[in-house]
Symmetry: C2
Subunit: 628 residues, 2 copies
């Protein structure tokens, strides 16, 4: 994965350089405009078309689907290794669009790593025999997700933590060190390749910052960091709401729905055209630093200089080419100052990013959110620097406030709020190689998370809801009544059982009339004593073999062989009782990744609980029935 | 907890200063020796006596017991808030002994925080009513443990991670953010108090380092970091083995066992006398930097200077007092050089620390292990600096190797190996405020952990084994046969059931003849259909109430009221089947903190599995029976 990540970065950099060169070489405004817009249009259309032509699963991030898989729902083909190439090529094209389309690479990389993990897991199982269980598979997938994050940012610890927070709901402590091991290898290799490619002299952080460490921040600044966290929380609520709304809208609206159903590349091209026209430096792009690519955007926002101090220098002019040592000049405009450009950036990117997430091509949504948060933080930091021009006074030495630290805190807080995770704080430290602002950054992340978790589902949960993937909502602690709800009240009492001595006809009737994946096998229809469970596939197999042998002699009674003789059924490990509370049942389903459980009373099957029933029961908590 | 931690540090510093002053003021060698030894003897004897007189649970670290509690075994009185004071006073005295006794404060602080958490949890339950379940309690306790670590080191993130790794085996992701919140508040408050006490100008890391960040390490050094990890792994295996052996030995040996049983303070005093005599600067102490306290030891080892380079300066002399800006001078001796002192320190402290862990007073064992690891790392780092005097050549600028980074890696690797945790790496970064060495440090921690986890149980698991606390061993992946073992093979088939219509006599016979905490209630003795479970305490209550009402009329038949009428029994949520595999059963026990589970077949109870049976089955995997 490190090799793939590095190769992808390398290719993307080359393509982006070619684009910048072309834009600079042509002189007529029309040609400039065309060269600016054609590139992302062509790339995103190709990305969408290529990836979608191979598999419809390659669009989007991949994290919501992985989360669903880890909750126990097997979306087999989603992790098929055959789609690896399509997603890699598609993602490379998406990234090559740069900051115009403003999409990232984390999500698809997590998906790619899990594909590889699933493939390796299968290879291992075929070697070590059948003595493997589901927990091993999940362990491989979580490790894969960790490698995905680690190889994108070169951040092993937060790679593991972020992937755990985002994709799983429970984890076994003794298992996670394998995740750590693979993530460390991935991150090490990724940074090593950068050294061998002479980008760096030794292994260092990917977005290395140079904040002063003697006196990183003054104590009263903690207050502003918390304020920043609150701001990020509010903005992320708005963002999540709009994003979910728009994602639903483009599926509802007749025009866009038709486009998305039949002409996905055209939809991508149209969106890319709109976004590229706006970011063109000849138009609004000049006020939103659109000449910078994603990496340069983040680097510039984390700059340790104070822009309001720098911009007091009268003889400033934006260079013809982007100057890597003076990236901040892209943010400076003589008319609207750095505050103006930051506000334009924030306002425009808000809806542009929301729109970009509807494009059906392989793309990550973490990095744009991270950069957006950094911009919020930079704006707040610059405002603080203006409000307190005297800065930090220490031993007579005056040093201005460091807005870069606010950018760091804003990035961690906003991305943490959008994804409902706290490890983005750690990710920020690992990415920048500095940890001196740990307490203010964590405070900002906590405040932002507290606000967003209260009002909105996370970005990934939101996508799960919109895509209608199987999803088990959490029981909110304010639903105190949930402790009183017992299984009896929400279980499905009306379900099909198969007696042990079921005949061909009975089995046939059950299989054709219902579509459950598994059926309880009982002693007899009257006593309903649970004996075990039989897979639908085993029943079909039973019917087929039975069918084949009997058909030639149709005069014979087909019930010569019953289910109990012709079909293997497996024992039931876990049975709920009618008095199991909703909380306990929810916990069991989450921890053991159950799909359904039988409810037994004195050995009799009296009900079935599946995720559907559980979900309904939880939703009923929030909207209590008027009859009760 | 932050207030307690700060007040404790403050007191300890004052006492230690007084000790240093006294030692400096007296001039005769005998008086010097006496003043050096009397202090720790008196303090450790008092610490042992005071803490033990209030509760026998106050000795030692507390983490092993907390781990046992979180695995589901309730050691009620262990978390009684009444013992809070005893442990605080005892721990303060232990810490005041300084580097002579060489013990730390993490373990007891984790214990103290959990006491407080349990107390607050009870207070909350009494407010919010009975609708609380066990998972909430565990959540509070894990958060308490996190606060304990966070307030000792001012490290919120690693506080949470370390406490999770050390005390629990599974955790729910959605719960851990409360742990983060409380740990952040604790760490913030702790560092804030340091600012208000004018120790620092602003909130900064507790052991702030100044490693150069432009080129933190050269690529080939990674190899030495991994070598250091391997060395730490091997040494930690030896340490864990010796420590467990000695802990058992002092309990077996007649003399020490008698002392520990009756005269605990005397035992502590004797050990303290031995340790203090050795560390006295007049004797061997001069070669092992014994004038430094714990904090200074760590600070000196993490020094960013290269001692072999510094010691080339000819005019060096150890100052009369410890010089805070030149702490390394304590490690320098003209005869045996810094290498000699480091080797003496490592060799002597190895058995001295092992011996100190047998003292029955409140004390933590993490900090000494951390410092010991730092000393190993410093030694390796200085050797590397001698082997490669040219150091890192970059852009013509030559800078020597930084042995402080090796000390950091050694500390993280050794403490990680001893406790079987990876988050010590993160702890090291949070404590020092620098994260530039992240990849080599994590590599060292991983290598050390790989070695130790293969050969030795962790420090805390070892204590659990020696103290014979209930303990569920893990199933090692090399036992491939474990997938074939099913519950039927290891369940206890011989157990007591209570029929629903059990009479007074029957209940009485069961209660007096067995001591199980819970009994299965069945339909009738013949059919054995499981109805529910009844607590032993409920049975006793049943007997008592029944007894009282019946005794006056002894001529009456006492079976007028049966168990089914007089006693409430609760339903059984989870039942195993005879074909549940050992792996599945182990997973369920670990995840759900079960103590026992009934095995049912067609509703009939056919067996019971408790932790004992499970443990035996796992141990049998390692030592297969010859009959099979």
């Amino acid at each position: 994965m490190a090799l793939v990540s590095f190769a992808m970065d390398f290719t993307v950099a080359k393509v982006a350089n070619a684009h910048a060169w072309l834009y600079h070489e042509v002189h007529s405004p029309l040609l400039k405009y065309l060269s600016w817009t054609m590139y992302p249009i062509a790339l995103s259309a190709f990305s969408t078309g290529f990836a979608q032509s191979i598999t419809p699963h390659s669009g989007g991030s991949g994290i919501p689907e992985l989360k669903t898989i880890l909750s126990g729902v097997m979306l087999e083909e989603y992790l098929a290794i055959e789609n690896f190439g399509a997603k890699v090529v598609g993602l490379t094209c998406t990234l090559a669009c740069g900051s115009t389309i403003f999409l990232g690479k984390v999500g698809p990389f997590v998906h790619l790593s899990s594909m590889l993990a699933a493939y390796l897991g299968k290879a291992r199982t075929s070697v070590s025999g059948e003595y493997e269980d589901k927990s091993k598979q999940n362990e491989m997938l979580v490790a894969g997700a960790a490698v995905g994050v680690a190889t994108v940012f070169g951040a092993p610890i937060s790679g593991v933590l972020f992937s755990i927070e985002v994709v799983s709901s429970h984890f076994a402590v003794r298992d996670y060190w394998r995740g750590f091991f693979s993530a460390t290898c991935g991150a090490f290799m990724f940074r090593l390749l950068a050294v061998f490619n002479s980008e760096q002299e030794t292994i260092m952080a990917i977005f290395k910052t140079n904040f002063k460490i003697d006196l990183p921040f003054d104590l009263p600044e903690t207050f502003f960091f918390m304020l920043l966290g609150a701001l990020c929380g509010v903005v992320s609520c708005a963002y999540l709401f709009c994003q979910r709304w728009l994602l639903g809208y483009v599926r509802r609206n007749r025009f866009t729905a038709a486009l998305l159903a039949t002409e996905k590349p055209l939809y991508s091209a149209l969106v890319a055209f709109l976004l590229a026209s706006i970011t063109c430096p000849l138009s609004l792009g000049q006020f939103m630093a659109s000449r910078l690519n994603m990496k340069e955007l983040l680097t510039s926002l984390l700059d340790n200089h104070t822009w309001v101090v720098l911009s007091q220098n009268a003889s400033l002019a934006r260079p013809l080419h982007v100057d890597p040592s003076q990236l901040w000049l892209e943010w400076w405009d003589p008319n609207i100052t750095v505050f103006g450009t930051l506000v334009v950036f924030l306002v425009m990117k808000f809806w542009m990013l929301t729109l970009a997430t509807t494009m059906p091509m392989p793309a990550g949504y973490f990095m744009p959110v991270f950069i957006y948060g950094a911009a919020i933080g930079r704006l707040v930091g610059e405002v603080v620097a203006v409000l307190f021009p005297q800065g930090i006074v220490s031993e007579g030495l005056v040093s201005p406030v460091t807005p870069g630290a606010y950018a760091l805190a804003g990035a961690a807080a906003f991305s943490g709020a959008v994804t409902h995770s706290l490890s983005t704080a750690l990710l920020a430290f690992e990415m920048t190689g500095q940890i001196s602002h740990i307490l203010p950054v964590i405070l900002a992340v906590l405040v932002a998370n507290a606000i967003t978790q209260k009002f909105q589902p996370s970005f990934y949960d939101g996508t799960i809801i919109v895509k209608k993937l199987p999803y088990l909502p959490r029981i909110r602690s304010r639903h105190i009544g949930s402790y009183k709800v017992i299984t009896q009240e929400f279980m499905k009492a009306d379900f099909v059982t198969l007696p042990r001595d079921a005949t061909f006809q009975e089995v046939l009737r059950v299989v054709t009339s219902t579509s459950d994946p598994e059926y309880p096998v009982v002693d007899s229809a009257e006593t309903s004593m649970l004996l075990g469970v039989v897979q639908r596939s085993a029943l079909i197999h039973f019917l087929q073999t039975h069918d084949a042998t009997v058909q030639p002699h149709e005069e014979e009674v087909p019930s010569c062989q019953t289910l109990g003789e012709g079909c293997a059924f497996s024992p039931v490990t876990l049975q709920l009782s009618p008095w199991t509370s909703l909380h306990q049942a929810h916990n069991l389903f989450e921890m053991l990744s159950l799909q359904w459980a039988f409810v037994t009373q004195l050995g009799r099957v009296v009900g079935v609980v599946s995720r559907k029933e559980l979900r309904k029961a939880i939703e009923d908590l929030a909207n209590p029935k008027p009859t009760k």
